[in-house]
Symmetry: C2
Amino acid sequence: KKSFRVVVLSGDGIGPEVVSEAVRVLEVVSASSPDVELKLEPHLFGGCAIDATGQPLPESTLQACKEADAILMGSVGGPKWDVNSKVRPEQGLLGLRKALGLYANIRPANFASESLLAYSPLKPSVAQGVDIIVIRELIGGAYFGERKELGPNDDTAYDTMIYSIPEVQRITRVAAQIALTSNPPLPIHSIDKANVLASSRLWRKVVVETLQNEYPQLKLDHTLVDSASMIIVANPKKLNGVIVTENLFGDILSDEASVIPGSLGLLPSASLAGAPSVADALSPDFKPTPGLYEPIHGSAPDIAGQGIANPVGTILSAAMLLRYSLGLNRYAQAIEDAVRKVLDDKEKGGFELRTADLGGSVKTKEIGDKIVEVL
Amino acid sequence: KKSFRVVVLSGDGIGPEVVSEAVRVLEVVSASSPDVELKLEPHLFGGCAIDATGQPLPESTLQACKEADAILMGSVGGPKWDVNSKVRPEQGLLGLRKALGLYANIRPANFASESLLAYSPLKPSVAQGVDIIVIRELIGGAYFGERKELGPNDDTAYDTMIYSIPEVQRITRVAAQIALTSNPPLPIHSIDKANVLASSRLWRKVVVETLQNEYPQLKLDHTLVDSASMIIVANPKKLNGVIVTENLFGDILSDEASVIPGSLGLLPSASLAGAPSVADALSPDFKPTPGLYEPIHGSAPDIAGQGIANPVGTILSAAMLLRYSLGLNRYAQAIEDAVRKVLDDKEKGGFELRTADLGGSVKTKEIGDKIVEVL
Ligand SMILES: CC(C)[C@H](C(=O)O)[C@@H](O)C(=O)O
Ligand SMILES: CC(C)[C@H](C(=O)O)[C@@H](O)C(=O)O
């Protein structure tokens, strides 16, 4: 039996509630697979880790994450750990991304079930068929460039949006690999602000050269970030396929795209330290790609503890974990199919379960139960 | 008679077509006013100026703009002046903003007529009542900070997002003045990325202090830029009032908000070198605030020369010019009312004129005719 270590960071707020449903799903996969075993290890991270150890990312957690094949996370933060305090849960997240070299953030924005179209803020004609995968560079740019805080004896502060050729090359390769998971391959839309920024001119040049040299078969176009932010509202299907962009633009645009499917509770994300493996876990040359998987929603302190949060984003994150880090595409697909069935309207043969974020009253655990049952 | 100089930069593509309708409207104002005269002076700017002089912003144009009380612009650029060429139309625009100190970009996103709700990509329930004024800092941040291009002997490029205390103070005051043009005053929403960026932490601190010291009566809240980009799609009314933000975030968010009203052809913008005057043009202590006014749409080379572009964005820009630079609020209001009547559905007592961008076949000139007639 092939065995994988998965670290589980439940985090704060609704984190533990949604993570425990995803853990049940992973346990079903592990128990029912004849040749793969998943070893799940819980660790402290975020606000709860600050409370217990004074640090959002304790050394023991970091160590376990470094040794793991993949990490499943819930959400961190809450009003208890204030934006102005010196030690903050987000620092743990930024620190973990950097320490593990998780340079590729992958966020699909699509409809887990067609039945959810009604929940989009966009008109059905605009939203229907939206299927975008945003790939955001995650450990470069203004997030990690040299910065100067406002000091007592001066009157300026700055951040540096900096990119190097290898940083852009490797994220471009991830975009290419993801584009190639579809047949025909997905088009790649690179987003920058090359009419103004030097870092964007480097970005565009390197994206063009890398794809021309290494993936000449892929389709590539370029959109300015201001224009992209319009298109995502006005005609998002124009950007169907793979969007690849730098850290700060990706932060803004991936959040923008993520509200199209109607509830943040539905969407997963992955942060990888390399291009996803295309080989199957059981092939002899397979090596896991380390990655961190989390729903895109926050810790939602207002509803924490009530058992009403939507676990679908976390369960789909677990599916991404199986696909991108562990080479277990068939199980990932089975989970996604089960989720679709649970969300589909009854008239489409689904169970039409709706949690509070979708105006329903189904509980977190009932969603987990039903997905496990369908699996 | 009080006399004002207005420079007119028609620019490229559909620029001349839409500007000539706005000019007609300004001429009506000038001719019918007993105590105000507008002197309109056309000048070369953008691609057409490159063709004629080799420069997008010729010295004579810059000089005229410096001496003018206000500037009305169409749009610049087109495929003829390529992104990769050394001299580009946008350089003229960035240069003009900097040379005139136009630090405050003001872009309303609202429905010029309720009858346009059907054209929004958002569901009517989400779009109805959206009334946002985005105030973007226009000559600071990454647009004008120190930058390094990728060189032949290195492998990085960078831009510097830099802000100083006075830069943030003055844009905050513009936001406050605009908030005070409504009664009760509009709430101010400051947008930043203070959980990551040093420049955003300076931004937030200065916005808070400036408003507390100088405008303690105004309501202020803070939203992170990623969250703001979600809210603008999912629940934009939450940001009704005044948004104030730095240059790059403002570029992205103002474009995002501007597609809510359904057509880019409808929306005006202003770029000011100071807080708008609240005094009337005829009061003895009135001084004009220099400003550049333009529709938010581009030069649309695909439809240029056909006489089918929507001139409403430019005509509403002329209204903003009268209000913010020349202290002629009553004429601005009259133009906005006339535009509303021309756009309102017939069942609401309007003329229901629809240009091509709104799926109709009314021509540019017919819109101008009708607005002049209503005036
Ligand atoms: C919490 C914050 C630092 C983080 C980011 O900006 O990267 C978050 O917005 C995200 O997108 O994961
Ligand atoms: C043309 C470009 C340089 C400009 C900008 O980014 O400021 C434009 O997008 C705008 O918003 O006026």
